[in-house]
């Protein structure tokens, strides 16, 4: 993992000292709320419905056991004993006091974490594939490049007041597990025709009120040109992005208004200027220095598929279900990537209590070389588990309710905090997710249905990624009541697509039966092992519309 150097430590310490003074000035009345709000947002502090919320960066989803223990301490000492992992690989605390926030930031700094730029109109936390450095299908580890972008973008003087927030995701694998095409800038590490690794650059993706799949604006970019090219994109956006209407201020609006070809031309023109100075060319020595932090651990020489695991799978269906759903192939023989599901029946997606955090940290030390990952689907990952340890780890995770065998399946639901916490929301998201996870709790049903994602947002801002759920659920408010609009056919993967609206919105009570009807229709229509998404793309929306609305009397206008 990356470790802070003296510059990082100094930067973060100075930032906390500055914010501590700003908080004191706010509490003493020297700053008004209007003056203070942009300052607190730059430090990740929001005011939500019930209290302040602090969003903490987990850079590209990488977390050490030591850091997780500190997050547990913060949850216990300063919050209500839990934290919420988000779709941007951050953690949010929902009950932080303003006057204690500088102390929380200081506690984070003790373990080399911070909340800088987790809000505001700047470059946000850089996100990545949660299997980075371990996936068998990976072209190259994206983490050193994420760290490079992080260092370049933190307190970048030119990009501290962008028209709107700016999100960057990086994947080193052809299978997209990071929703790359739905970011302001998305990067895939790819080989060109000569076998040289560089970046495919995608711009203008995003969700929210105006969802777009990003456009490829450069098929292949040499790695040493990454920062100069990003600088060119940010500069064109900073100069030309709309500032008159926050709803239309993201780069996706600019890219799609200009058209990808014209946007590309502007970027290339700017890039040519920037490249005249070699200032932003990435020196090989620097990326190698950063990459050394992500060097492979000292894996043992082991064989795949140890007999004890194969035997256990044969005699214990519960273990076998978990193995098939939550265990992923590792690029090193004898090791496995293990997903910890934060989606047990009835649990708020992405929530983890302080006690669970402490115990997971202990398990990470015991089973995963002290390292974890956070996924954008709001789960945790142990990246380096010896296959022979899987039965013992499974038992431990079961005791913590973190072994639900549902990764990528019907109850692995993404949900934003919704109206239970968020001041922007129109409807609750968490209770809908809880109902669905209880309703579809049968492991046999989950297995039979297979890959099917459900994403729930409490408003059009789409923090719950409803546009890209195979089934999307959007909370809306009508005459003071909550209703839910369904979309079908979304995908955040390399086959990215936006969901199609199914029909009129329905009540919360009608959501589980509606999903039942959709799933039943899929099971009736699918061919062999066809995924839900593929069936939907083959047969279209009409059979599902008929399944939900045709046979149901309680439809709401």
């Amino acid at each position: 993992m990356y470790r802070y150097d003296e510059f990082d430590h100094t930067l973060v310490a100075e930032r906390i000292a500055t914010f501590r003074r700003q908080v004191q000035r706010r509490l003493s009345g020297d700053l008004t709320e209007d003056q203070f709000k942009p300052l607190r947002l730059m430090n990740g502090l929001y005011l939500q419905l019930h209290a302040y919320m602090l969003r903490v960066n987990i850079p590209y989803g990488c977390l050490s056991a030591r850091q997780l223990r500190q997050l547990a301490y913060i949850a216990r000492r300063y919050d209500r004993n839990f934290g919420h992992f988000t779709t941007r690989q951050n953690i949010q605390y929902n009950w932080i006091r303003l006057d204690e926030t500088p102390d929380v930031l200081a506690a984070l700094a003790e373990v080399e974490m911070n909340a800088m730029q987790s809000s505001g109109n700047c470059v946000r936390n850089i996100t990545a594939d949660q299997y980075a450095g371990r996936a068998r299908d990976e072209v190259e580890d994206p983490r050193p490049w994420c760290e490079l972008i992080r260092q370049w973008s933190i307190l970048h003087p030119e990009f501290s007041y962008l028209p709107r927030k700016f999100k960057i995701a990086v994947s080193g694998a052809p299978v997209d597990r990071a929703a790359v095409k739905f970011h302001d800038v998305g990067l895939y590490l790819r080989r060109n025709a000569d076998g040289v690794v560089g970046f495919e650059v995608i711009a203008g993706g995003g969700q929210g009120r105006l969802p777009y799949v990003g456009h490829t604006i450069r098929d292949w970019l040499p790695k040493e040109d990454l920062l100069s090219y990003l600088e060119a994109i940010l500069r064109i956006y900073n100069l030309g992005g709309r500032r008159d209407n926050p709803q239309k201020a993201r780069i996706k609006v600019q890219v799609n208004a200009l058209g990808p070809d014209e946007f590309r031309r502007l970027v290339d023109e700017e890039w040519a200027q920037i490249r005249r100075s070699a200032l932003l060319a990435v020196p090989r020595a620097e990326i190698e220095r950063i990459a050394a932090y992500f060097a492979d651990p000292a894996w043992e020489v082991l064989a795949d598929d140890p007999v004890a695991v194969t035997r256990q799978r044969g005699v214990d269906p519960g273990f076998d279900d978990w193995y098939r759903a939550n265990v992923v192939a590792h690029r090193t023989p004898g090791y496995a990537i293990v997903n910890l599901s934060l989606k047990a029946p009835g649990i708020a997606p992405g929530d983890l209590t302080a006690d669970q955090m402490d115990k997971v940290a202990d398990l990470a030390d015991r089973f995963s070389i002290g390292e974890l990952r956070v996924s954008h689907r709001q789960n945790l990952v142990f990246p380096d588990v010896r296959q022979g340890d899987l039965p013992a780890l499974w038992q431990e995770l079961r005791a913590l309710s973190l072994a639900t065998p549902n990764i990528g399946q019907l109850t692995d639901i993404i949900a934003c905090p919704g109206l239970d916490f968020c001041s922007l929301a129109n409807a609750r998201a968490i209770p809908v997710a809880q109902d669905l996870s209880r309703h579809f709790g049968d492991a046999a049903v989950l297995q039979d249905v297979g890959e099917l994602t459900i994403n729930i947002s409490g408003c059009m801002n789409a923090c719950g990624h409803h546009h890209v759920g195979n089934i999307g659920i959007l909370g809306v408010e009508k005459n003071g009541q909550e209703f839910y609009q369904l979309t079908l056919g979304g995908s955040s993967g390399e086959d990215a697509s936006l969901g199609d609206r199914l029909g009129r919105s329905i009540s919360a009570a009608d959501v589980p039966p509606a999903i039942d009807a959709i799933v039943a229709r899929y099971r009736a229509l699918r061919l062999a092992d066809e995924r839900f998404l593929d069936t939907y793309r083959r047969v279209g929306i009409e059979p599902f519309k008929e399944a939900v609305y045709g046979a149901r009397a309680r439809e709401v206008a």
């Binding site: 009345g29 709320e33 019930h50 209500r80 839990f82 109206l419 239970d420 209770p431 003071g480």
Partner: protein
Amino acid sequence: MTGQMILANRLTDGRVVFLAADGRWVDDIAGGAVATAPGVASQLLATARVAESRNAVIEPCLIDIRQVAGHRQPVAWREAIRATGPTVRTDLPA
């Protein structure tokens, strides 16, 4: 009974508070002042604005309330959740 109350977030911790008749800010909706006439509501809002300018609270606003089963309840669902807290994670200590 229907009426209006002042709801805001307290500056120091962000918690939801209600303006009481004596000018204090209280955590419990039951302790807040209820205006049943437009003139009274304006007075409450003016008091709240002074408190805001003195940095006691943030974004005070008037909300409509009604009596449900003997208890005051905000009419709007959003404000009802603000008044009583999240409907989830009730298993954890406040």
